[in-house]
Structures are given as structure tokens and as C-alpha cells.
């Protein structure tokens, strides 16, 4: 992968393991991707595909038994994995910040919004209490919380889920980060609120000029917001393309399956049942020898269960599938 001048974050060959009593789970295997300044990169995958673990690795928030075993995470030229905890802390919440999936539980129930919001502002922007509160109210207004100067004294339980996610967003953006990692920011919310939060993140991205790394399993969300997409399966990147290319012409069998399993209004007229990718996600403790997706793949070939496919670069996108092996005869079958 070439390093552009405007590359903000470059993850190179990242592998993250969880060493458990029953064995080692390779949650992320040899993952590489880049986030450019100001763009929205979506990482898509099912639960357990490693997308959240990858984002926590970037944040340095992996908790034992999780551990980055190899690779580099380069942010503006500095390898985050080589930083001291102190240096990493200066970066977290300041240059790189994160919104989590569960707004209901992600805020501390015993402190007021003001307390939780001003904490990172005071820490990173070195403001005094008064200035930090002013900044916090400003942020709450920015994320669309009505009568922010009053609501700032609320406790989390006095707010709805959508409001809390707005507060989380305000908290993440309060120090003007260059990169926002949003880990399933809308999954726990009502559909109408989902759209609001996505629109909010989209708006703020334009306003503040930050890049967004969007972690999601929802292709609808990806289609609406992302510039480029990384599709993950079994801890590996299986396809990487621009959002336009991916939705216009999905290539990897897994991506195809994902897109086909989205219900659409057009389909609802005939009585055909919704498409489902057959089978289950492989057991992470016992990954197959060949392609992780082979067992569920409709276009499986003999070699798929024998060797692991590498990432092939095809027409500006990356694909982990032997169907796209330029040297093999299967290449013709695309």
C-alpha cells in the first residue's frame, strides 16, 4: 500500500490475539488499512469479525487477555505501539477519540455530564474550570442538545439513549480530534435516532475536518456515510474498495452475500425469503486451515480449503479470494 502525503493513520500488518485458557484467539490477523485526512473509512463485518478489536488496538485500549502481537499503527508518522502509556494518553481523547456502541452504559452513572465532559477538556486543552465548562456547553450545543447550559448538570440517567450518544459525541469531539473512531455508534439506538446521529457525525466531520473510522455491521450506514470500505471476516480483511465500487459491483463472495442479505423494498413484492449466507462464523479458537470463509462460500474451489488466500490487488481494490488470483485459471471466472 502506498503512503500518501495525506495519510493520517496507517495500520500495517496488525495482529491481535486473545490468549485464553482454551487456546489463543487470533482476533485480528495481518490487517492493514489507511485512513486519509478528512475521509470516512468504514470497517464492516459480522460480530466477532475483529473490527472492534482492531479499533481498540488503535486506541491502545485493549484489556488483557487481548494483546497486539505484531504490526505497526502509524499515526502522523509515529508508531503508536511504541509510545509510552503517558504519550498514548496525551493522544487519546485529544488527537484520536472514540464513540462506543452502548450510550446507555458508556457514561458514568454517578457523575454529571459537566463533570464527565470537562474532564478531557481540562486534561488536554489545559483550560481552567470555567473555560472548560464554557467549552463543554459549546460542544453540547454543537451536537444539538437543547438548553445545553441546563442539561449539562444532568446525570446520564436523566437523558434518553439518543441524547446520551450526542453527549458521547460531544465528549469525543471536545478536543478537536483529527480522527474519530465510531464503534457501532448507532446500533443501540432507534432507527430515527440512528439517522440523526449519523447525520450529526457527518455534519461535524465536514465542519471540523476530521477523519472518521466507522466500525459497523450495517451496510445501510456504510452506504450513506463512507468514502471507502474495508470488509472483514474472521479477523482478516477480505475486501477493500471505495464505497461506490463496493456497492455498485461487489466482488468478494462474502461481500456479495452481505449485500444480498439486506432486505429491500423492491424484493418485498415477491414472496421469496430473504437471502442468508449459509453456515456459521467459524469458531475463533479453531480457524480453518484455508480461507476463513470457505465453508460458507458458494464458489468454493478445492484450493480454498487448503491454503490461505493472500490479498490480491484488482482494479484499485483489494480482495482476499483465489477467484482473483491473476496467475491461476480461476481468475478468468470473475
Amino acid at each position: 500500500m502506498t503512503t500518501d502525503t495525506n495519510t493520517l493513520l496507517e495500520v500495517k500488518n496488525l495482529s491481535t490475539d486473545f490468549v485464553m485458557n482454551k487456546g489463543t484467539v487470533h482476533a485480528v490477523v495481518d490487517m492493514s488499512f489507511t485512513v486519509r485526512e478528512g475521509e470516512v473509512l468504514a470497517i464492516v463485518g459480522e460480530s466477532g469479525s475483529g473490527k472492534s478489536v482492531a479499533s481498540l488496538s488503535v486506541m491502545g485500549l485493549l484489556q488483557p487477555p487481548g494483546r497486539v502481537v505484531s504490526g505497526e499503527i502509524i499515526y502522523r508518522g509515529r508508531n503508536l505501539l511504541a509510545l509510552s502509556p503517558r504519550e498514548m494518553r496525551d493522544l487519546r481523547g485529544n488527537h484520536i477519540s472514540m464513540i462506543f456502541q452502548e450510550p446507555m452504559t458508556s457514561l458514568n452513572p454517578v457523575f454529571t455530564i459537566q463533570d464527565q465532559l470537562t474532564e478531557s477538556i481540562r486534561e488536554h486543552m489545559k483550560l481552567d474550570k470555567k473555560a472548560a465548562i464554557t467549552r463543554a456547553i459549546e460542544m453540547l450545543r454543537l451536537v444539538g442538545i437543547p438548553s445545553a447550559e441546563k442539561r449539562i448538570h444532568d446525570y446520564p440517567h436523566q437523558m434518553s439513549g439518543g441524547m446520551r450518544q450526542r453527549v458521547m459525541t460531544a465528549m469525543a469531539l471536545s478536543c478537536d480530534p483529527d480522527l474519530l473512531i465510531a464503534d457501532e455508534p448507532t446500533t443501540a439506538l432507534d432507527v430515527t435516532i440512528q439517522a440523526q446521529i449519523l447525520a450529526l457525525i457527518g455534519d461535524l466531520r465536514k465542519k471540523l475536518g476530521m477523519a472518521v473510522l466507522l466500525i459497523t455491521h450495517d451496510l445501510g450506514v456504510v452506504a450513506e456515510t463512507a468514502d471507502r470500505v474495508v470488509v472483514m471476516y474472521g479477523g482478516q480483511v477480505v475486501e477493500q474498495a471505495t464505497a461506490q465500487d463496493l456497492f455498485d459491483c461487489p466482488k468478494h463472495p462474502y461481500t456479495l452475500g452481505l449485500l444480498e442479505s439486506i432486505p429491500s423494498m423492491a424484493d418485498s413484492e415477491d414472496d421469496e425469503p430473504l437471502y442468508m449466507i449459509p453456515g456459521m462464523v467459524p469458531n475463533p479458537l479453531n480457524m480453518p486451515m484455508g480461507c476463513a470463509f470457505a465453508a460458507r462460500c458458494s464458489r468454493r474451489m478445492p484450493r480454498c480449503t487448503q491454503e490461505r488466500p493472500p490479498l490480491y490487488e484488482v482494479e484499485g481494490r483489494l480482495l482476499r479470494c483465489f477467484l482473483f488470483d491473476p496467475s491461476g485459471e480461476e481468475g478468468a471466472r470473475t
Binding site: 487519546r92 462506543f100 454517578v110 474532564e119
Partner: protein
């Protein structure tokens, strides 16, 4: 809030009735007849009868109880068979000593217990955690009187560092105002008395607090471990604040919520139940007084003390429950919501 507190205070009444019936009957069933003990070896059958009649012990037990309750409602808990002075006054004279000891013990237990618990949770599965757990296990299982005697042997007998018992050197005793020697001596400018009272307090407080300390350690550890796995702790870390703040602020306050109840219950137990410790250290509080009174079948005194302990328990529980609302803003004791 007001309604809630009133309701909780009114709950004292049934508790008191139950406790008084139990202690009243138990004393009369299991304690030896006080008359021969009070009158001594030269008592005659006649004098015993006269004494029993004078103290109402010849009436049926139910009548005795009703009389007792009627008097108690007027604030008269009876008089001690031996000193002839009011039970309330006797208890009042000894209670400050017990409170002083209980406060010292709970301060020691809470400070060390929370500290050890937090450290064990943060350094989970480390040598430190194992050592902390072992220490807590020892604290829970060691008999208090034995620990007290060990302390006396080592610190008083062997090292001659600390006194083996008593509350204060008689020569340094402050004029009684509050009954708390440390407060009295301090307000009277009696610096030596203050130091002496403090030194006398160390061993009994350590002994008495050991069990509570162990319980608090274990409770804090498990509560802290649970809190550390919460999403909001990850959020706090994602903010880039220091780990000290993550633990000391975000995790500690949440994990202390269940610990508060334990501290409250333990404090209640310490206030009423320092029987062994006070006996071992000749601490002139109500614990030692209880033991002495039970041995002498001093019915009114034992009844009075047990009632007091019941009131203390209910009160401390109420305070602990109200303490929740302070730690956890989600709890509001409104009249609408049930407790």
C-alpha cells in the same frame, strides 16, 4: 425523602417490641436467678423472697414484661440490681468509650480495607492480589479474643510499646464532658492525655477492626473488579485521563456503593458487639459491661443494652441507605417509589 425517613424511623417500633420480648424471655429462661447472686451467700429464703418481690420478679413473666414496657415508654429502663443507679445513666457513662473504640476500629477497617481491596482488584491475579486475599481470609477467620491476646503479648509484653489495656492512664484522665477521652483531653488542652488515650486505643481498635477490615477488603475487591469491566471505565480511558483518575474517581465511587452497606452493618456490629475485645483489653465500654451484667444476671441492664443495640442497628442501616443516595444519584428516596 422526609416521608421515607419517617417511615424508616417508625419501623424501629416493631423491631424494638420483637427484640425486647426475645431478650426478656431469654434472660428469664437461661440466666440464673439474680436474687442469691445479689444478696450473697448469707441470704435467707425470706430475704430472697423479699428481694424478688421488691424487684417485681415474683409476678408472672407477662405482667413483668408489660410493666417493663410501660416504664420504658416513659424513659425509665429500671435500675441495676447492684449499683441501684438508673440503667440509662449506667449505659450513658460507658457508651462513649464504646463509640470511641468503634469509630477508631471502623476508620482503620475502612481505610485499609478499601485500599487493599482496590489494589487487589487493580492488580488482579498478581502476587499482591493473592497476598491481599490471604490477609483477608486470615482476618475473617482469626478469633478476635485470640488476636487480642497475641497483640497484647507482642506489643505490650514483648516490645513494651503499647499499653495492654484500659482507656487512659488515670493520672491523665480529662474532666468528663463528652465522655470521649480524645475529644475531652484535646479541648482541655491536655496534650499528654490525648496522646495517652490514642496509644490506648491502638491495639483494641486493630483487634476489633480486623474482621471488618477483612470483609471490607473482599467486598471492595469484588465490587471494584465488576466496576472495572464496565463500559464507562473504557470511556474514561478513551478520554486520555490518567489511570489514577480512572481508578480513583470513575471506578472507586461506583464500586463503593455496595461497600457502604457493609461498612454500615459492620459499624453497627462494632458499636454493640465489642464484647470480646472490650473484655480482653479491659475497655470500660458497654461490651465489657454487657458481659459483666450477663454473668451477674443483672436483667434490667442487659435488657437496656440490647434495646440500645437494636436502635443503633436500625439507625446505622438507615444512615447507610441514605448514604447510597449521596453516592448514587440514580437513587432518590421519593414518597412515590417504594424503598
Amino acid at each position: 425523602m422526609f416521608k421515607y425517613v419517617t417511615k424508616r424511623i417508625l419501623m424501629v417500633i416493631p423491631v424494638m417490641i420483637g427484640v425486647s420480648i426475645i431478650v426478656f424471655s431469654l434472660m428469664r429462661v437461661f440466666s440464673p436467678d439474680p436474687a442469691p447472686i445479689v444478696l450473697g451467700q448469707h441470704a435467707t429464703i425470706k430475704s430472697i423472697e423479699v428481694w424478688r418481690h421488691a424487684n417485681g420478679l415474683d409476678a408472672p413473666v407477662v405482667t413483668q414484661y408489660v410493666t417493663y414496657v410501660a416504664k420504658a415508654f416513659k424513659g425509665d429502663l429500671g435500675t441495676s440490681y447492684y449499683t441501684k443507679s438508673q440503667v440509662a445513666a449506667e449505659i450513658g457513662a460507658r457508651f462513649p468509650a464504646t463509640i470511641e473504640l468503634a469509630i477508631a476500629a471502623i476508620l482503620f477497617a475502612t481505610t485499609l480495607g478499601v485500599l487493599l481491596g482496590v489494589m487487589a482488584a487493580v492488580k488482579k491475579n498478581s502476587v499482591f492480589d493473592a497476598a491481599g486475599s490471604l490477609f483477608a481470609l486470615i482476618g475473617v477467620s482469626i478469633p478476635i479474643f485470640w488476636l487480642g491476646i497475641l497483640f497484647i503479648m507482642f506489643f505490650a509484653g514483648f516490645l513494651h510499646l503499647l499499653p495492654s489495656g484500659g482507656r487512659i492512664n488515670v493520672m491523665l484522665e480529662p474532666t468528663r464532658v463528652t465522655g470521649f477521652y480524645m475529644i475531652d483531653s484535646l479541648t482541655q488542652g491536655n496534650w499528654d492525655g490525648f496522646k495517652d488515650a490514642f496509644i490506648h486505643l491502638i491495639l483494641p481498635a486493630l483487634t476489633l477492626g480486623m474482621y471488618s477490615m477483612a470483609i471490607i477488603t473482599r467486598m471492595t475487591r469484588s465490587s471494584m473488579l465488576e466496576t472495572l469491566g464496565q463500559d464507562y471505565i473504557r470511556t474514561a480511558r478513551a478520554k486520555g485521563i490518567s489511570e489514577t483518575k480512572v481508578i480513583g474517581k470513575h471506578a472507586l465511587r461506583n464500586s463503593l456503593i455496595p461497600v457502604t452497606t457493609v461498612i454500615g452493618l459492620q459499624f453497627g456490629a462494632l458499636l454493640g458487639g465489642a464484647l470480646l475485645t472490650e473484655s480482653v483489653f479491659s475497655w470500660p465500654g458497654i461490651g465489657k459491661y454487657t458481659v459483666d451484667s450477663i454473668l451477674k444476671s443483672d436483667f434490667p441492664v442487659v435488657q437496656g443494652i440490647v434495646l440500645l443495640v437494636a436502635v443503633i442497628f436500625v439507625t446505622i442501616n438507615l444512615i447507610a441507605d441514605l448514604g447510597y443516595a449521596f453516592l448514587d444519584p440514580r437513587i432518590k428516596y421519593s414518597s412515590k417509589k417504594e424503598d
